[in-house]
Amino acid sequence: MRGAMALAGLALTVAAFNAAAEDAGQIKTAQGRVEIVRGGQHIAAVPGAYVRQSDSIVTGKDGTVGVTLADNSRLSIGPNTVMSLDKYAFDTTTYKGRMDASLKKGTMVVISGKLVKQTPGSMRIHTPASIMGVRGTKFIVHVGEPAS
């Protein structure tokens, strides 16, 4: 029993340690209604909050948010937008890794960073109907409202 508790304690410590290492980026600007959706939970996306792999960011009609990622890539997300950071990995020693984000609807602006500079094409943005491979640049992606 004591062994099991010690093991649980260890698992908790490891989880807490990993949580810090998992942070993919940090919210630097936020206006209006912006939420991070993490495992079904809605977290207020205030400046200073961290963004992790598998998080979604959802904005209301007055919402905008700006995120700086670990590799110096920067993103901003406009009003009425749903974006998910499906995959983010960046090795600070080798600069290798990859990023996959999905823009379900709305607008995002991307400025690629060290990841793409090291490996062009290692960042991909997915939309409902296409894929953007990033060779290194600043660009806008917009997915309109469904035709009614």
């Binding site: 400046p47 602006v109 660009f139 806008i140």
Partner: protein, 200 residues
């Protein structure tokens, strides 16, 4: 009969074979790069592909499923996407502090530069700091990895001693794999013995 079947199959492929028709229109616009460099974006939908590698080059995917390249104007971008562009975080500020040979002591010049780094950190609303240590090519790759990290750690200590309040400082060492000034192996180069500081 065979010809009719062929036509039928071909029509079926065109109508049903390609990717399903999009439900929403999609637009991509490349903006002028901050340092003038544009590496570009490749937009792909099934077998259709558009390469955008100049400022304001744009692609548009219509509800008919056709991906077309076009050109946007700065005014149009400002009007439609200005609010989103304005939400981008400020670019990282970059500094390099240099060390005396083989050790973890800053050069006199870099000690003076430190106050600019501190000012930049204090100016940012939500600062976080990335410290990337480098070495020259004297010594082995492994020992240089260790040395570069030590240098970055040393800068971390210096920043903390100066009383900065930062929620996160990420410390890393690139050793000799990312020379700031290219040299051959075993070359003493003061400009490669630096720690790059990104204030974000």
């Amino acid at each position: 009969m065979g010809a009719m079947l062929c036509t039928l199959l071909f029509t079926a492929y065109v109508v049903f074979g390609g990717p399903a028709r999009p439900v929403m229109e999609e637009t991509v616009v490349v903006l002028p790069g901050e340092n003038g460099h544009i590496g570009g974006v490749v937009v792909q939908r099934g077998s259709q592909k558009v390469v955008l590698d100049t400022a304001y080059a744009s692609s548009h995917l219509g509800l008919d499923g056709q991906l077309k390249s076009s050109h946007a104007s700065p005014e149009q971008v400002q009007k439609e996407f200005g609010k989103t562009v304005a939400a981008l975080p400020a670019p990282p500020a970059k500094f390099i502090l240099y060390f005396v040979t083989g050790g973890d002591q800053l050069t006199e010049e870099s000690k003076a530069r430190l106050k600019d780094v501190l000012a930049e950190i204090r100016e940012r609303p939500i600062p976080d700091v990335l410290l990337i240590g480098h070495t020259d090519t004297v010594g082995g790759t492994k020992s240089n990895d260790v040395l570069s990290r030590q240098r970055a750690e040393r800068v971390r200590e210096i920043l903390l001693q100066a009383g900065i309040k930062v929620r996160r400082i990420v410390v890393t060492g690139r050793g000799e794999r990312d020379l700031m000034v290219p040299t051959g192996n075993d070359v003493q180069e003061a400009r490669n013995r630096g720690v790059e500081i990104n204030v974000r």
